[in-house]
């Protein structure tokens, strides 16, 4: 609940309403005045309390009452917020402008009270809106949201690696080794190395293959056959596989070069 001026407490005793006359015990005044949110709030209070018509404010009355409050504040040396003094000046100005004779033709638009009335009405609307928002049910207050427990398991996905990441890494390797000239590998050579892996993999499961089984003359084009042949030669050169032939023109067998 928003605290209103009417629920001010002085020395533990609740004052439910402002005294009818303007006499306020000096130590109470401070509490009352602090309960007002500012000069607009005080003015609104005076208007509503005395049932004044906000659209036709009797400026003399309102100004007098307002000034009396402000003087009391002054009298008890309450540190006067500048806002209150500014409002006094404005009220007096409006009052004096209303005393001046006004030309008939601009009557309505030129009511010196117009700006003040607009501000008071806007402030009052905001004040009520604030109260309404304050009363609305809110999460953490009247609204309880579901928040049952669940076992958190981590769903860590493996890191993603792009082709760029990979080539960047390779580039770094090369840069550090500064071995560009010795390690130039073109597309053709990479295919050879890939086929080396493929052949090794096949031999791991099949153990021994006929040389011709390594080549699919029907499926593979000439370039692939050449690459595959180069891979076999490179594997043999690196001592990774062994080729055997029992007799001339008999089948050549390829197997992993193992000591067993």
């Amino acid at each position: 609940m928003i605290e209103t001026p009417l629920s001010a407490k002085i020395k533990g005793e609740a004052f439910t309403q402002l005294p009818q006359d303007l006499y306020i015990p000096p130590d109470a005044l401070e509490v009352y005045l602090e309960a007002f949110e500012g000069p607009l709030d005080l003015l609104l209070y005076l208007i509503r309390k005395h049932n004044l018509d906000i659209l036709d404010i009797p400026m003399a009355d309102l100004t007098r009452q307002y000034m009396e409050y402000v003087e009391k504040m002054h009298a008890i040396k309450l540190e006067l917020a500048g806002d209150y003094l500014l409002m006094s000046a404005m009220l007096i100005e409006i009052k004096s402008r209303m005393l001046l004779p006004k030309p008939a033709e601009i009557e309505s638009e030129d009511d010196p009270r117009a700006a003040l009335v607009r501000r008071l009405m806007e402030y009052e609307a905001i004040k009520l809106a604030a109260q309404r928002i304050d009363e609305m049910p809110k999460v953490g207050g009247d609204i309880a949201v579901a928040s049952a427990y669940y076992q958190h398991i981590s769903d860590i996905k493996p890191p993603e690696v792009s082709l760029d990441d990979l080539t960047e890494a390779w580039r770094n390797v090369l840069k550090r080794a500064s071995q560009y000239k010795h390690h130039k590998i073109g597309k053709a050579e990479l295919s050879v190395r890939e086929h080396m892996s493929i052949i090794l993999r096949r031999l791991k499961t099949d153990h021994i293959l006929e040389f011709s089984q390594l080549f699919d003359v029907v499926q593979d084009g000439i370039p692939k056959l050449v690459v595959c042949f180069l891979a076999v030669l490179e594997l043999a050169r690196e001592g990774l596989l062994r080729m055997t032939q029992q007799a001339p023109f008999s089948p050549i067998y390829v197997q992993l070069n193992s000591r067993e």
């Binding site: 609940m1 928003i2 605290e3 949110e37 500012g38 000069p39 607009l40 709030d41 906000i54 659209l55 917020a81 806002d83 409002m87 009511d111 117009a114 009335v117 607009r118 501000r119 009405m121 806007e122 402030y123 009052e124 609307a125 905001i126 004040k127 009520l128 809106a129 604030a130 109260q131 309404r132 928002i133 304050d134 609305m136 049910p137 809110k138 999460v139 953490g140 207050g141 009247d142 609204i143 309880a144 949201v145 579901a146 928040s147 049952a148 427990y149 669940y150």
Partner: protein, 184 residues
């Protein structure tokens, strides 16, 4: 481990579990993630509708707020739940609530705008309280000398007030007390 849900019943179960265990509202995007983004938004909306109906006569209700969907206790249980946590929610001062109302209804506004409406200086502490609650944030600067910050309410504010959008706030006209429409 459950395999991917195969029928609407299983799909609604997955949604129900997610909504009952999430303390934040779940957006449609969030809920699509539950199904590895293999569910159409229209299907999802249909399932949510059904789930809402499934819970119609029950203790919780499925509601839609600004950032998504959530289950919340039906209001009739509030009194009981309040007994669990008797410490009352911190109440905000009038200054805080009026500042919030101005930001909610007049956003985006600068501190100057707020001071103009309230007729008093804005205590920095007031803005801090609202920002810490994640009800208000800075959405830009007004292009005038000093480039003052423009404040607006957040989606979280709407969520906390059980609203889908600002339009659901009570109309400002309801708060104009004068019988005669102001015509100044």
């Amino acid at each position: 481990m459950m395999k991917e849900p195969e029928n609407t019943t299983q799909m609604k179960q997955v949604l129900e579990v997610a909504l009952l265990t999430s303390s934040q509202p779940l957006s449609l995007d969030d809920m699509q993630k539950l199904f590895s983004d293999r569910m159409e938004r229209t299907t999802l909306r249909m399932l949510l509708d059904e789930l809402k109906q499934d819970w119609d006569a029950r203790t919780m209700e499925l509601v839609q707020v600004a950032t998504g969907y959530r289950f919340q206790a039906r209001p009739e249980y509030t009194t009981f739940l309040a007994r669990l946590n008797p410490e009352k929610q911190p109440k905000y001062s009038r200054a805080v609530m009026e500042t919030l109302a101005i930001i909610a209804y007049r956003q985006p506004v600068t501190r100057g705008d707020i001071e103009e409406i309230r007729g008093v200086a804005v205590n920095p502490n007031v803005m801090r309280q609202l920002q810490e609650r994640d009800w208000v944030d800075v959405v830009g600067q007004r292009e005038v000398p000093g480039r003052p910050s423009l404040y607006a309410t957040t989606k979280h504010f709407l969520d906390d007030l059980n609203l889908k959008s600002l339009a659901e706030l009570p109309a400002m006209e309801d708060f104009v007390k004068s019988e005669v429409q102001l015509d100044l």
